[in-house]
Amino acid sequence: MSSLWLLTKKNLKLLLRSKSSALIVVFAPLLIILILGLSFSNSSQYGINIGVHASSFNADVNSFMETLQEEEFKVIKYESSIEDCIEDIKLSYVHTCISLPESFQIEGNAKKEITFYIDPSKINLVWMVQETLRTKLNLKSEEVSKALAGNILTKLVDTNTKIGTEKDKLSTIKGKTGSALSSAEAAKTDLSGLDFTVPVTVYNLSVTEAFKTQVSANINTGITKLDAASSAINGANLSSSEKSAIKKHLTLAKSELANASARLTVDSEGSFIAVSNLINTLETDLTATKGKLTSASEKVTGTTDNLGNIQSSLSEGMSSLDTVLTSLNEIKANLDAQKVTEAGVISNPITTKIENVIPAQSYLSYMFPALIVLVIMFSSLLLGTTLVMMEKNSPSFVRNYFVPVKKVTFILSTYLTNLILMIVQIVIILGISLIFLKELYMTIPQTVLILFLAASVFTFLGMALGYLFVSEETAVLASISLGSVFLFFSGLILPLESVSVLLREVTFFNPFVLAEKLVREVSLFQTSLSLIWMDLLILLGYAIVMFLVILIIESLLHKQLVTKFMRHHHHKHRQKQKIDGKKH
């Protein structure tokens, strides 16, 4: 244990006394984090220069430019041609160029086109510029769409209202047509009820003559009888007065019968002739009426037929009106059912609203996890490599072989040295970060634990590289390369979505990604360690595996390294001897 501390103290001394190492490995990361802290401790828009070209800078174009300026973009006008702007992109004076149409007013079906010119080689900016500007343009497009949709909606509302009105009229027409149909129906029924049947009886007018004859005969008989009666009276045992009275009545009756007989034969008022004439007239009239009735019956039949036609026409009309009404009702129902009546909603039915799951903070807050892990990663990798190479290239490397100290103690001392320096760095970095990120205060212990694990993993990786490589330069290069690979496949530089699925899944196990994710979860979302224990375990596993790997590498290579080291010095010495020999 004392050897471990002794070696660690020695390492620290050596590192701090080597000005270049101390500067590069110890102070550079601290300086970086301080500079980054000062640089990104704001929440304003990125400083993007946008070139705008339009054939004329009218109100529409100027309004769009103002929108961009409101977003803190620096907008530069290119009035002459878009080519000038494109040239400026190539020279990095502007980040993107936008070619705008003369007006955003939509007339007819012609679309308005806005062209972006971007430099795809600036991959870190392209997506951001595209995304930010697309949002702005979508707003403008939405504005135009809203006006167009508003126009359409107004017309639809008018139509709906008119349909409402006209539908009532149609209902009235339908009512009236119904009434007409009923009337026609009633008329038809009434007409059908009319009996125009003509009696088919044949009137025998000779009956009247027979009646006349019979009545005349009867009258004559009566008169005869009366005469007989009068005669009989005379012979009757009656007083004359009585006989005269009876004869008087008989004479009156006989007179009356004579009058009746006269009426049968004399054409006078109330006579049989008059009656006969009347009957003849009646017969004539009856025949004429019969003809008229036949004609009327025919007419009624024709009218009834017409009424039937009218009825079916009216029924058809009614049915058509029903159809029209149903259609209108459907149209109206459809129009009424159109719940979305806001032009804004139609033109942009789904609005994207980005809600921060945490309160809005400065960019540094969001970048902090990546930045701190980045610094820790490169510091640990470089420090691990540097310390191992420092030991390997140290003149005392051979002497250390002869000291009775286990090799694992040397490895642990290198790790411990690194860890002490990393802890110092973490403390300073977090200390500096607290100036800019006060919300970190609550999560410091968890953050420190994660950073400690991350530092261990990267230290062991750096140390492994130190043991594997011969020269310090190549080892440091390998460390930087390894760090760069971790960084490249972390999604920090390029979106991981663009790489293959397999590689994307592999990158999840990238220690940088793991550490960054853990720090983000802890520092930004205050996630409890119990929820992220699996990732912590993976990091710890990496550290243990790397330590074992180093032990294996060291046990395999150490003697070889010392031999190589001695042989190297031996050759150097021999060459020097040769040179000295030649000089003499």
């Binding site: 080597s18 003149p395 002869f402 001897q577």
Partner: protein
Amino acid sequence: MIVEFIHLKEVVKEFKKTKILKNVNLTIQRGEILGIIGQSGSGKTTLLNLIAGFIEPTEGNVEYFSKIDHQPKEMHKNLHKIKRHIGFTPQHASFYPKLTVKENLLHFGRLYGLKKALLIDNAKSLLEFTNLHGHQNKLAEHLSGGMQKRLDLSCSLIHKPKLLILDEPTADLDHITQGEILELIQEVNKQGVTVVIASHHLNNLERICDKIAIIHKGELKSFGAVEDVRKPYLKNNICINIKVGKDKDKMIAMAKKLPVSKIVDQGHQIVLHPLEDEKALLALIRAVKEENLYLHDIDLRKPSLNEVMGNIVDEEERK
């Protein structure tokens, strides 16, 4: 009493199927200074690494006697136990340049598990011993080459090892510093520390070593006390050392005409290996006179380890 400390038995070391060391048999006694010499690429450092237990032999054994009566233990298999008794100083500086002298000493001392009081005591005496006391708070990287070597030595001695292994301890140092380092090593040895040194500064080794092991192309060509190693090469190997001034090139050209087997240009002097001593010497004097050259100094001496080494190389090449 001669006590075995480390014993190499039929040691073979191969790297990528190339034999770097071939059947080396060597015994290091407690308390002695063993010098390992050889040309570049001869296998000195490999032999040193084997002795330090840093590498294991492909064949054979490197054994370590932890205590006098104990059975030998295989070095590389028991290195974790033996490490505490070994101090290793490689060719290059092996301390932390960004730590001060004192920090380096205390750091390595603590890694060896020394108690605080003992460590401070050791560090203090080492700082005085290596004359680094006045520089104890200086960063190691700011020390001069000699001081860095002394610091390296101190770091290897902080835990009071029984065996000190030094690879080229005097390399890249000036003559004075080399001398200081050698004195230090001798002082350390006097305190009972067994020292194994590999160096190409053969003259230095000649001065301080009790034993010499000469390695050539992976083979142990000679091993023993310095005089014993030199003995086979004494006959007909008297050297003529000529200290020359500005006429060195003319002198070399002239020497080529003399009856000598070999001419060695050592910079400040030319060493001639005569075929016949007397004839060569007379011919030399005559030629110097004829050519009107200035002869600064001339002497006859026994061959140095350097020259012994040269002879061994020559013999091998003749084979």
